[in-house]
Symmetry: C2
Subunit: 242 residues, 2 copies
Amino acid sequence: MDGGATGAVSLLRPVRAGNAFEETVERLLQAIKLGVVAHGEKLPPERELAAQLGISRVTLREAIRALQEAGFLDVRRGRYGGAFVVYRPPSPRKGDLRRAVNEMGAGGLDDALTFRMAVECGAAQILAGTELTEVQRETLASRLAGVNDAAPADYRRLDTAFHLAIAELTGSPLLAAACADARLRVTDLLNAIPVLQPNIEHAATQHAAIVAAILEGDPEGARRAVAEHLEGTAALLRGFLS
Amino acid sequence: MDGGATGAVSLLRPVRAGNAFEETVERLLQAIKLGVVAHGEKLPPERELAAQLGISRVTLREAIRALQEAGFLDVRRGRYGGAFVVYRPPSPRKGDLRRAVNEMGAGGLDDALTFRMAVECGAAQILAGTELTEVQRETLASRLAGVNDAAPADYRRLDTAFHLAIAELTGSPLLAAACADARLRVTDLLNAIPVLQPNIEHAATQHAAIVAAILEGDPEGARRAVAEHLEGTAALLRGFLS
DNA sequence: CTTCAATGGTCTGTTTCCAGACTTTTGGAC
DNA sequence: GTCCAAAAGTCTGGAAACAGACCATTGAAG
C-alpha cells in the first residue's frame, strides 16, 4: 500500500476546464439549450453578465460573437437592444444520439446517468424531508403543471425546469448546481431523441408521483419515484442506442 | 411570469472561482489537508503535476512556493527531491470551529451539509445496488479496517479515505468528484473539533453498518445507514457550535 | 570518482485576459 | 424634433498565464 488515503486521482484533476473564452461559450450555450433563456428573450446586458460570470467584458463579447456567428444569438445595439436567443432545438435525426454519445467519450454515458441518479434522488428525498412553505408548494405545483401543459417544442425545456425546481427548492445552491450539471450532461442526449406521446404520458404519471410524495413528506417514496423515473429515461436512451 | 424556465441563478454563476494561482493553492491545500498526500510524502514532479492540473509550470511553482512559505511543504531539489508534505493537522482549539463556520458565510454550513447528505447517500445506495467484484469488496473492507485501526492523529484522514472509497467504487468519476467536493467543504469544520473516543466508537458502528448493507446488496439500508451517520456528524458539529 | 538521470530553478517571448475610458447606435419620452 | 438613457462597440495599456528552452543540484550506480 501507498499509505496514501485515496485514489488521489480525483483531487489532482484539472483546475481549469479550458480557457475563459471556451468555458464562457460552453456556459452560454448550456443556458440557451436548457432554455434558461428562452427563445426570443435576451441575455442580461454585457456588463452585468460579465460581472455574474466573473470574466471581463472583452472575453464575454468574444463568446457572444462566436454564438452569434453560429446562429444561436441575434445581437442588436441601442437602447432595448441586447443578445437575443434565436436558437430552436432542431428535430432530432437518426444518428444524432450516437454522435452525442461518442462526443462524451467512453464511460461518459454511464457516468452521467449514475451521477444524475445520485444527485436527483438525493434532492427529492431531502426536499420531501423538509417542511415546505406555501410558496414552495405552489412553485412545485406550477412547474408540474408547466410540463403537463407543454407544447412538444417546449417539452424538454419545461421538463428541465421541473427537475431543477426540485433541486433549487432544497435551498442548497451546491445541490442545485450539481443537479443542473447532471442535467446538462444528458441534455444533448435527450435532445437527440424524439419526444413521443407515450413517453410523455408515462413521464407525467411519474412526475405526479414525485410531487405527491414530496408534498406528503415521504422521503423514501420521493426517492423511489425519482429513481424509477430516471431509470425510465436511462432505459429510453439505451433503447435508442441499440 | 417570465416565461423563463428556472431561477436562472445557477447557470450564470462564475466561470472562474479566482485566478489560476489562487485556485491552485486551494487545490493543493485541500489535497494536503485531506491527506491525499500524507505527511512525509511528496507531490508529483512539477512538470507532471502541472499537466494534471492543467496549468503552466510557472503558476504551479508560485503556488508551491506559497505553500512552502506557509509551512506546508518542504521543497528539495536534485534527484529524489520534490515538494514534501510537512504539515500536521494542529490540535483544534476553542473558537476554531466558529471561525471556520464564519469563513463559509451565511447559509454555507447548511448548504454543505445538505449537499454532502445528498451525494454520499446517493453513492452508497448506488454502490449497494451494483454487483461488486472481489477486489471492490476487499477495497471496502480494507478502508473500513483502516479507520478502525487509525491512530488518533490519522483518524480524519482515514475516515475521509473510507467515505471517498465508497464514492469511487461506484465507478462514476463525476459522483466521486462531487463527494470529494462535499467532504472538502466540511473538512475545516471537522478539523476544528476534537476527535473523541465515544464519537469514534459510534462512528465505527455506523461505518460497519454501511459496509454491511453495501455488501449485502441492500441499497435502501445502505442509504439509511449513511444518512444516520451523516446526521450524527451534523449534530456533532451543531453541538459544538452552541 | 565519474557519470547520469531526475528533479527543482530560471529566463524569454507570446498569448490571453483584464479594467476602464471612450464612442456609436437606437428608440422612447417630452 | 430634440434629448436622453440604455445598450452594444472600440481602443489602450498592463497584468496574468503560458510554452518551451535552458541551468543547477543532487544522490545513486557503475
